[in-house]
């Protein structure tokens, strides 16, 4: 089993028998964002799960996605719970809707991913620039030889739909 990865005071543990996450993080370390794609119905899913939540089939392949998406919702953490995050406050946690598979298989569904909204040096993006509707792209924060965390950064693309942030 690989050593736990220490990140912001947390031990992130991805043992050799982690049949959901181990390969996901190996791809992330190679700077590829992957999701699981059902071999039968073709629908993609995140986080990695063993069976297809739509057709229950056990067959799947890793599918690379573009990592482009739109902020669907967010929060700004002012009071960190984990000690290692205190120096990062205020930081944004974003719920990103990826471009692939939006509104499928029902209008209420999408490939959505949780991560931080960061600058190029992986510090927290300025709070004033965090808003629903803004366009983002995936970036990878290398943590160890076998692990990187997918994060998101703002792009220069025009916003998708209405841009909204919590009033001051």
């Amino acid at each position: 089993m690989p050593q736990p990865v220490q990140y912001r005071g947390m031990a992130l543990i991805v043992p050799d028998n982690d049949s959901e996450w181990k390969e996901f993080y190996a791809h992330a370390r190679a700077h590829r964002l992957v999701v699981r794609k059902c071999k039968v119905c073709g629908l993609m899913r995140y986080p990695p799960t063993h069976a297809c939540p739509w057709c229950m089939d056990l067959g799947w392949t890793w599918q690379e996605v573009s990592g482009r998406g739109t902020i669907y919702s967010y929060e700004i953490v002012a009071h960190a719970i984990q000690p290692g995050f205190k120096e990062m406050t205020p930081y944004a946690v974003v719920l990103v809707e990826l471009d692939e598979q939006r509104g499928q298989p029902t209008p209420d569904e999408a490939l959505r991913v949780i991560a931080n909204l960061v600058k190029v040096d992986f510090t927290a993006e300025s709070e004033a620039d965090v808003a629903i509707g803004k366009r983002v792209r995936v970036v990878f924060q290398d943590l160890a030889d076998h692990m990187a965390l997918p994060q998101f950064a703002l792009t220069e693309e025009p916003a998708a739909g209405r841009v909204w942030r919590l009033p001051e």
Binding site: I13, P47, E75, V77, A78, Q82, E109, W164, L166
Partner: protein, 408 residues
Amino acid sequence: MVVQSRGLRDKYCIVGVGETEYSRSSGRTTRAMAVEAIRKAILDAGLKAADVDGMLDYQGGDSTLANSVASDLGIRFNFYMDVMGGGSSTEALVGLAMGAIEAGMCNTVAIYRSMNGYSEFRIGGTGARAAQPVRGLDLAQVPYGMRSAGQNFAPTFMRHMYEYGTTSAQVAHVRVAHSKHASQNPKALLKERVTVPDVLNSRWIVKPLHLLDCCVETDNATCIIVTSVERARDLKHRPIHIMGVAGRVSKPRLDFHWAHGPISRVAGYYAKDIVFPQAGITPEDVDVTGSYDAFTFTTMLQLEEYGFCKKGEGGAYVSSGIIELGGTRPNNTSGSHLCEGYTHGMSMVIENVRQLRGTVDDYCPRAAEGFHTYDYSPRQCRQVRDAEITMNLGWAMPATGSALIMRR
């Protein structure tokens, strides 16, 4: 999927309730607190230890199991079970108690929750919980500084504001109302009434949540006793009948509920279709609600999802005065999690039992005998006049909830 009602309306009752004090430093074990709360509930019901033959409790590795607690009290089991869980377990366990009795496994079930929720295992995830390694599904959120309940729920609240124009000031009225109620509650940890500006000027925890949008972690134990209506008839209090119950109803993709939206929809969307048909009533028939207030937003989201107002109009509903004592449908009349103390839902069912009995433990001198002034100024009365039907809306998270409808 339609759930067929099993015709159990009014066949089971809550006959006893009890709790310890709410504090931030109990100075004793969850075992000692559980024993005190259960003993109080047994005495409240007019039962003896030997009359209780079933037990259910819920916890998250932070409490004492039923085998120890029952032994202390001299209870011999025909049925017991320790359940993993937090919020929304109360209503679910009431339903499980009914099922155990209906199946002929036992006669009378004591349900308890006991926790040093401030001094030992803080609910927010700090202290002992913050040091836990991150693995499995937690990897999808926790490495991003998203661990506490508030951090887990905030994007849901934010999306509701985006979709419906809900404002911080509207939702602050939940805290205002519950603090008003707590000012009539000798048990409440926070008895001072607060204003909307007080809430909006309190420091940010995780936007859109201010400090006063969040509940108050406490040490406490609570207990509820369920039995059949036949057994309930000759006990001490007027039986409080269970009209309908829904337990831990969830949205799709419970593993990662963000995958299925709109994320501003919460589990009550599904639970309402179970519990209202069982009870044979509509929201208009409910006199008092108990909508789980881990946060101001959770109360608001559930009230609209269960149909007390239209979807998206929760902000207007909670700021209209309806949910305050003196309003047409008061919510959480004890002050509950935001002000009385955090109990993972038990205290809100206990409060509604007392409302239906007419014996809410306010500052009225003869409250225990059912005499109330109905004067809702501070340090006075919190009894709702002639409350006949109450409803509890339990919350674990946006994707999981429970519900309980009771009548006197």
